[in-house]
Symmetry: C2
Subunit: 253 residues, 2 copies
């Protein structure tokens, strides 16, 4: 679950969009519904959920979302066809013996009224898209391979349309022999001098000497501009750290 | 950040307490303050934060918490002594050349009014404990080694006092050759027959045959009772799965 959120945050950020909040709740319809309502009130472009779309009783995401939106769950023809096709393929491949359309399988085709499905090229439960006012609610399965496949195939194109042609550019450096508290005023100055560059410091523990990583990033509609901004800030911060006796080297990708 | 949340959730659950929500926000005083206010309204026993206690400008947790609680930040004598002692030790060990009490270092000693500090045996920034009505707000550093050391030394004893002598007991089994949708009704039945046992299924992708992990858990004041409940449910579910043609084996620890 957590690595799903991390993977999504990285992918969304690299599109030039920003992730405002990540929330994890238990398998409880009310908790899910309240968390989704709170998220809707923050008026984001997208709310993306992972997990809870499968056939078992603890898969409660669609129930929770339907409750938050004040909609009913209804059996979706297209989703049912996808699920039937998937299990038929498992039978053909000899992975399971026979196939019946049992209630737990039909459950995966019950999506909130007015919602659409995304094709799941890896597993059985389809992804779901519901629109509520200006918010796009995207529901993805929790199995990482399925979540990633639906994101790549169906969700990223939607996000790109929102993000337009914004480019995200980032660079990291490793800094040694100078404690974080001495770098703090340097970061302040470089951020003041480079107003479009965001700098984040990540202290690292272990080893005899103080060690941290600085991460510089920016977004711009002009890729060359984004690169120039980060490079300029990188040169300035490296010089200031070296003047204070610190060692600087680029982080290996 | 995410592995911190995962580590904490596991430790807290194993004490017999339950984690209701995990929230991740950016380095923004207002976002932190709003998230903390929302959490307080859910009236938990504990709110634990990680990260944002260091000397740099992006360390905004204490600002955000002070804002949420309507308190000011004040310089804490004990925290300042801890920080001085730490840097003096770094100088003695030759890790840094000299030590001055610069504003970024003093920043780490500014905690919300009425709050207390926890000793940080690994790094510089102390942990913080603030009480608000019946909620204990615990602030831990983001560096995992520091977070874990303060949790083990200072936070776990507080949690144990709340949890009393509740025991958490869990077991997992690997299930093959039966799809999750056929296990769903079996889980329903076993949970009905074993009302104190919670069962969660985790589908696994890959391989030729359907494969999933079932996780059974319970909490009880009587450790023997907790073990008996989980064992009973485990035997029943294994038999029902085998009757349906599935393979069951225990998960290696």
């Amino acid at each position: 679950m957590n690595s799903n959120a991390q993977w999504l945050a990285r992918r969304i950020t690299s599109l030039g969009l920003s992730v405002r909040r990540i929330t994890v709740v238990g398998d409880d319809v009310d908790e899910i519904s309240v968390a989704v309502l709170e998220a809707i009130q923050r008026k984001p472009c997208f709310i993306i959920t992972t997990g809870g779309l499968g056939p078992t009783f603890d898969d409660k995401t669609l129930d929770g979302i339907a409750k938050a939106l004040g909609r009913k769950l209804r059996e979706d023809e297209k989703a049912l066809e996808m699920i039937k096709g998937k299990y038929q393929r498992y039978v053909d491949e000899g992975r399971i013996e026979k196939f019946e359309l049992t209630p737990p399988r039909i459950k995966m085709a019950k999506i909130p009224e007015g919602a659409e499905t995304f094709y799941n090229p890896v597993g059985t439960a389809p992804g779901v898209l519901a629109r509520h006012e200006d918010v796009n609610l995207v529901m993805l399965p929790g199995v990482p391979e399925e979540m990633k496949a639906i994101f790549d195939g169906s969700v990223e194109p939607l996000l790109r349309r929102i993000a337009g042609n914004v480019t995200f550019f980032e660079a990291s450096i490793q800094v040694k022999r100078i404690p974080e508290s001495d770098i703090a005023p340097i970061i302040d100055r470089v951020m003041r001098d480079n107003p479009y560059v965001y700098i984040k410091s990540h202290p690292r523990v272990g080893g005899k000497v103080p060690h941290l990583e600085l991460h510089l990033s920016t977004t711009s509609r002009n890729p060359e501009e984004a690169r120039r901004r980060v490079s300029g800030a990188l040169i300035q911060i490296s010089e200031l750290i070296q003047q204070k006796g610190g060692d600087v080297k680029p982080t290996k990708a």
